[in-house]
């Protein structure tokens, strides 16, 4: 348990009031229309969604995860966090395409890119799955806060979960995405400053940069300073093959939409940006901050390793960064640290409350149940959906232990098997809704087979995760590619409309030629300068 002085409580209460009031202040803007409630009227300058990207992806459990991989692997553990680099290419490829489509959500984009029954099935599936996923993330992150409060104050775990999520819901219900993004800005700045303060404090406690380096050397642990300390080509705990697979997944994934689970919250930030340029810079710079933040954390955690080198239990060394803050900061600063943790927490909770509600409102209620609904009604449906997500997250949070293993598996499915189809739907005109839909279904079966069933019956050896990825990609392609070719291409009218609107990259020649024939695009000028 940590003892808080008056000054500590002062920081906590002041920050919570400030964050909540900041969100509620935008009530009038949020209620104007559905576009305001979920996208802040598509008028934000790049730096606002950028801080939102950063704040949303700095959750209560993020320092726990980063502490775990860096304590275990040293600086090479940073590559486990490098999956966020899908934004490197996405910012200038799929972000540009998605922003031009003007879809509210990824589910809606499916009905702009594809047509007919297949498109509607995809939209319904992705919308339902996203409502569920956001509820799960809310429960997961909320429970992390519950555990932290239990560790700090001895509260029952449910109290931390319910208390902070409810405070957050006040401004999300009132102002929607306006409240989310404005609070995210404030929370992002607070969180980044406190991450700097706590990490530098930890580095100082461990003897400063040179102290950490010399102590690691004395302990014969200097390899921890090498981000490229591979354990071999395919063997050991950090093989080169894993590293290269990770780079491909992360970097090439940026050409697609939905190749990473983080695409979905990012898609909302992309559409809330004022222009294509603002959208690109917001995604790029928000992720750059995340990448730099991870490095700052990593050095502080190396400092923690120097202080406590023999912790074997994962649950204990995963608390490395939190322990630096709570055990070494002076009285008065601990409250500031906790206030920053609350900021980190609220930014993630608010983003997922509003995002889940956007799928429920735009893709389920508005599209399927009441297409003629007024803007006022849709804003209210958005609020009711937010409330349902909040209550659902409490239920998920309370049963998290039982479902965590299953859901981590579900996330793995998401990353592995539909990675390539999620790229193909963006870059290849002939890839159709039935191909994409079948890749989701096939992947569900294949991942059970490859990860659990076949190894259990010794038909397949238990493969390392990078080999599972490649195997599922090949097996999946053997199903969805024939289905794509055996079914008709998408309706040319829809493809032309989508092409003219979004100007996708890749293999779109037949559609471009048709659009030019219809006079919707200027004919390709072969002699143009600088183009390829």
């Amino acid at each position: 348990m940590v003892q808080f002085a008056f000054l500590d409580w002062f920081w906590v209460v002041t920050f919570i009031v400030l964050m909540t009031v900041c969100g509620v202040l935008f009530y009038k803007l949020g209620k104007r229309s559905m576009a305001d409630f979920f996208l802040a009227g598509r008028g934000l300058p790049w730096w606002l969604p950028a801080t939102s990207v950063y704040a949303t992806h700095t959750a209560t459990d993020t320092p726990i995860w980063v502490s775990g991989v860096v304590y275990q692997h040293g600086l090479r553990g940073l590559w486990y966090t490098f999956f966020s680099a899908w934004c490197a290419i996405s910012a200038f490829a799929s972000t540009r395409i998605f922003r031009r489509s003007l879809a509210y959500t990824q589910a809606e984009w499916q009905t702009l890119r594809f047509s007919g029954l297949g498109a509607e099935l995809l939209r319904g599936w992705i919308a339902g799955w996203q409502v569920f996923m956001n509820m799960f993330v809310l429960g997961w992150v909320g429970m992390a806060m519950g555990k932290l409060c239990s560790y700090l104050f001895g509260w029952p775990q449910w109290l931390g979960l319910v208390l902070f999520s409810t405070i957050c819901a006040i401004y999300v219900l009132a102002a929607g995405y306006w409240g989310v993004v404005m609070s995210d800005f404030q929370q992002g700045v607070i969180a980044f400053l406190v991450i700097l303060i706590v990490s530098f404090w930890g580095i100082g406690v461990a003897g400063g940069p040179q102290g950490i380096v010399s102590k690691l050397s004395e302990m014969s642990q200097s390899w921890r300073l090498n981000p490229f300390a591979f354990s071999g080509l395919t063997g050991g705990d950090f093989p080169l093959a894993w590293f290269l697979t990770m780079l491909i997944i992360a970097v090439i994934g940026g050409f697609g939409m939905g190749t990473a689970i983080d695409w979905y919250p990012e898609a909302q930030r992309i559409q809330s940006a004022k222009t294509v340029r603002d959208a690109s810079y917001s995604i790029w710079s928000g992720t750059a901050l995340i990448v730099v933040r991870n490095s700052i954390w990593a050095v502080a955690i190396l400092g923690f390793f120097v202080l406590y080198p023999n912790i074997k239990e994962t649950a204990l060394y995963e608390m490395a960064w939190y322990r630096i803050g709570f055990e070494y900061l002076p009285v008065g600063m601990v409250g500031l640290f906790f206030a920053a943790i609350v900021a980190i927490h609220l930014s993630t909770i608010s983003a997922h409350l509003n995002l889940g509600a956007s799928y429920a409102t735009r893709d389920l209620y508005h599209h399927y149940f009441k297409p003629k609904a007024t803007e006022r009604e849709l804003v209210w449906v958005g609020r009711v959906s937010t409330l349902i997500l909040l209550i659902g997250s409490f239920i998920y949070g309370s049963m998290m232990k039982e479902i965590t293993q299953w859901l981590i598996f579900a996330l793995w499915i998401m990353a592995a098997g539909i990675w390539l189809p999620s790229i193909l739907q963006v870059v290849w005109w002939r890839f159709n809704s039935w191909g994409y839909l079948s890749s989701w279904i096939a992947n569900l079966g294949l991942s059970w087979l490859v990860v659990w069933v076949l190894p259990e019956f010794r038909i397949l050896p238990a493969l390392p995760d990078y080999l599972q990825f490649w195997m599922m990609m090949v097996l999946g392609a053997l199903i969805y590619l024939p289905i794509t070719f055996l079914t008709k291409p998408e309706d040319m009218d829809r493809l032309v409309k989508y092409y003219v609107m979004s100007r996708p990259l890749g293999w779109w020649k037949p559609v471009r030629v048709e659009a030019e024939r219809r006079g919707l695009l200027a004919l390709e000028v072969r002699s143009r300068k600088g183009g390829s």
């Binding site: 290419i89 200038f92 380096v213 222009t275 294509v276 750059a288 730099v292 390829s532």
Partner: protein, 96 residues
């Protein structure tokens, strides 16, 4: 003719060109350099400062390459956006 083009009309900027592909290569490199460079610099290792410096130069180069194109796309698109949004609402409301 310059290898990297910095003046664009909206129609030309809509196409995927060499400038985009150059950005696709530089951008992930910048992330890598910033990540490794920051960590090693905080440990006062000289390769860290070198990598961080290269990362910042690459970042500026990337903006120099892609920004004129993004500006051209955005300016033109602002005008079209209103019509697209009207169209989109009709699709969602099953009117089209």
């Amino acid at each position: 003719m310059a290898w990297i083009r910095r003046r664009w009309t909206a129609e030309e900027a809509d196409r995927w060109t060499r400038e985009d592909y150059v950005t696709f290569i530089i951008s992930p490199l910048v992330y890598m350099l910033l990540m490794v460079g920051t960590a090693l610099s905080l440990l006062l290792r000289w390769p860290g400062f070198l990598l961080l410096g290269i990362g910042i130069v690459c970042l500026l180069l990337m903006i120099w390459v892609i920004d004129p194109k993004l500006k051209a796309i955005s300016e033109d698109y602002e005008i079209k956006q209103r019509h697209y949004l009207e169209d989109l609402e009709k699709i969602v409301r099953w009117e089209k």
